[in-house]
């Protein structure tokens, strides 16, 4: 899947999880930049991404995700 397609699918998920209709994703975006993105909503987000993309993350991968760029990279490797 192309990066653009991943970003557009992720945008829908992010907007829904964080109740923010105008949220725009970029590689540097992290939990510090988004209201309500904390350790509780993060796991809802992860589960939603797994369901929508039909993938499974590993805990080690989760620990290494520091921003949206890292997240996209991991999704890309899983969809190859």
């Amino acid at each position: 899947m192309e990066k653009e397609a991943i970003v557009s699918k992720l945008t829908v998920i992010f907007r829904n999880v964080f109740t923010s209709s105008d949220l725009i994703l970029n590689d540097a975006l992290s939990a510090n930049d988004v209201d309500n993105w904390d350790s509780l909503t993060h796991m809802i987000l992860i589960n939603e991404i797994e369901v929508q993309f039909d993938i499974k993350f590993k805990l080690k991968e989760l620990n290494k995700m520091k921003n949206v760029g890292d997240l996209i990279e991991i999704i890309q490797t899983k969809l190859m």
């Binding site: 109740t19 309500n36 904390d38 350790s39 909503t41 796991m43 809802i44 992860i46 589960n47």
Partner: protein
């Protein structure tokens, strides 16, 4: 030797002087020797235990890093975690489990005299155990490189400013700093001393005076009415904040004077607008530790159950946190209440956010202040379980607050100094929270104002501080 002892007031300046006279390559060794001497002065018998934890952690982290076999890595990880948790469990819970078994046997008519073993909890055991576990998991998760120098690992685990009550630091922050200690800096020394001065003020003037009043009420609950208990309940969170927050500032300032940056432990908690926000501001080093090493693996494991899985992980994390605070039902209740509050917030979060956006409340000061007050009330209520000696007393406090009105018991001398000190602490927090530290007298460009501020705080500590050798609340954990 604790931070409020005369020994420390001699030890610290001597160490700073020696630190700056020692060539850079020997400074980490000097810090290690100082940390060992500091611990030896507090708890000589248990120094062996601390060394044992250091040796085990050093050996198993190296073993984790040296093998490529995932199963072996996991075995090494779990072996070290269990090995270093065993002494903590033994010293913390053996007595309570022993007493429970004895009372259960007695209730059933069996009088089997179990050996009564009473040990003093080794000083700082919870904190250095958490530090060692965090480092082991970080090496396993490849978050940090394994440290090959045993002295550096031992220094990280036993670093004297942090060993007694944290902040619970991480290898990712501290190991590189210990390996590359900074050159002499007058700015670091003054910045560190300022933090220490404010920490001593919070502890000796505010926390200990509030503690005198709160202890006098809790030591005689039956003779106090609901009004007094309500005031005590309202003040207790401030006592814990100024006690652990004050301790943390002294620890952070001590490290800062030696050129080391340690994480913040409190961030103006009384301006939190929700319980989730409060736990991002209160005892930050413990909460982030629990989040990273307990909550996240559990929530990840339960994630297929969606919201229910996250709530289960939340409640379990806070229950474990409660049990860590003490082997008593009060702490289990305390933990459950925190988990319950956060679950309610999680369940209502979407609706609340939509409603707040619709009515444009995110920048409405009245709404935010109302949220802060509600958060403070919920937290204060839960702290009754953190302070009361047993569940019966805790429920009795709740009952009296709602049913018994009467004249307030006021110890005017103690309370007036405590409230005056607390007002200054809150004014500083307001300045930090809403004005980006703009009006700080400690940072004024005018020397006369700056030095007057230092002297005033010092004057307050000397005149109104409590120097009766009281300990810090978190030393017991």
């Amino acid at each position: 030797m604790i931070f409020t002892s005369l020994n420390f007031l001699l030890f610290f300046p001597t160490l700073v002087l020696l630190f700056y006279l020692t060539p850079i390559k020997w400074r980490s060794l000097l810090l290690l020797v100082a940390s060992i001497l500091f611990y030896l002065n507090l708890s000589p018998v248990y120094l062996l235990l601390l060394l044992g934890v250091g040796i085990a952690t050093y050996s198993f982290t190296k073993a984790i890093a040296n093998t490529k076999n995932e199963k072996k890595k996991y075995t090494f990880l779990m072996t070290n975690v269990i090995l270093i948790l065993l002494p903590l469990f033994f010293f913390k819970y053996f007595g309570a489990i022993n007493n429970y078994c004895f009372s259960m046997l007695s209730q059933n008519g069996l009088h089997w005299p179990l050996p009564e073993l009473k040990f003093l909890l080794p000083v700082g055991i919870s904190f250095y155990t958490f530090v060692a576990i965090g480092y082991t998991i970080d090496v396993y998760n490849e978050e940090v490189e394994v440290e090959k120098d045993f002295g550096i690992v031992m220094l990280f685990i036993s670093f004297f400013p942090l060993i007694l009550s944290g902040p619970i630091e991480r290898a990712g922050n501290m190991l590189p700093q210990f390996k590359n200690l900074k050159p002499i800096s007058f700015d670091n020394i003054t910045a560190g001393l300022k933090l220490m001065l404010w920490g001593y003020f919070m502890k000796l003037v505010v926390a200990d005076r509030l503690g005198m009043y709160i202890d006098s009420v809790y030591n005689n609950i039956d003779n106090h009415n609901g009004s007094t208990l309500l005031l005590t309940t309202a003040l207790y969170p401030f006592q814990v904040y100024t006690d652990l927050g004050g301790y943390s500032l002294i620890a952070i300032g001590t490290a800062k004077a030696l050129g080391l940056e340690v994480m913040q432990n409190f961030r103006r908690p009384f301006f939190a607008t929700s319980m989730a926000d409060l736990w991002r501001r209160w005892h930050i080093s413990l909460i982030t530790w629990l989040t990273d090493y307990l909550y996240t693996p559990m929530a990840f494991h339960f994630r297929k159950y969606k919201m229910k899985g996250i709530m289960l992980a939340l409640i379990l994390t806070f229950l474990i946190s409660g049990i860590w605070h003490g082997a008593a039902l009060t702490f289990i209740f305390w933990g459950f209440m925190q988990g319950f509050y956060l679950c309610i917030e999680l369940l209502t979060q979407k609706r609340r956010t939509t409603w707040e956006q619709k009515h444009n409340l995110n920048n409405n000061m009245f709404y935010l202040v109302a949220c802060m007050i509600l958060t403070y009330i919920l937290f204060s209520a839960s702290q009754i379980f953190g302070r009361a000696p047993d569940l019966k007393t805790a429920f009795s406090v709740f009952r009296k607050i709602f049913s018994e009105r009467g004249n307030l018991f006021l110890d005017i001398t103690t309370l007036s100094f405590a409230i005056l000190g607390l007002t200054l602490v809150m004014l500083k927090d307001i300045n930090d929270e809403f004005f980006n530290n703009k009006y700080s007298l400690f940072s004024s460009k005018i020397g006369a104002i700056r030095y007057s501020a230092y002297l005033t705080v010092l004057f307050f500590i000397i005149l109104f501080g409590v120097f009766s050798g009281s300990s810090f609340i978190y030393f017991q954990f």
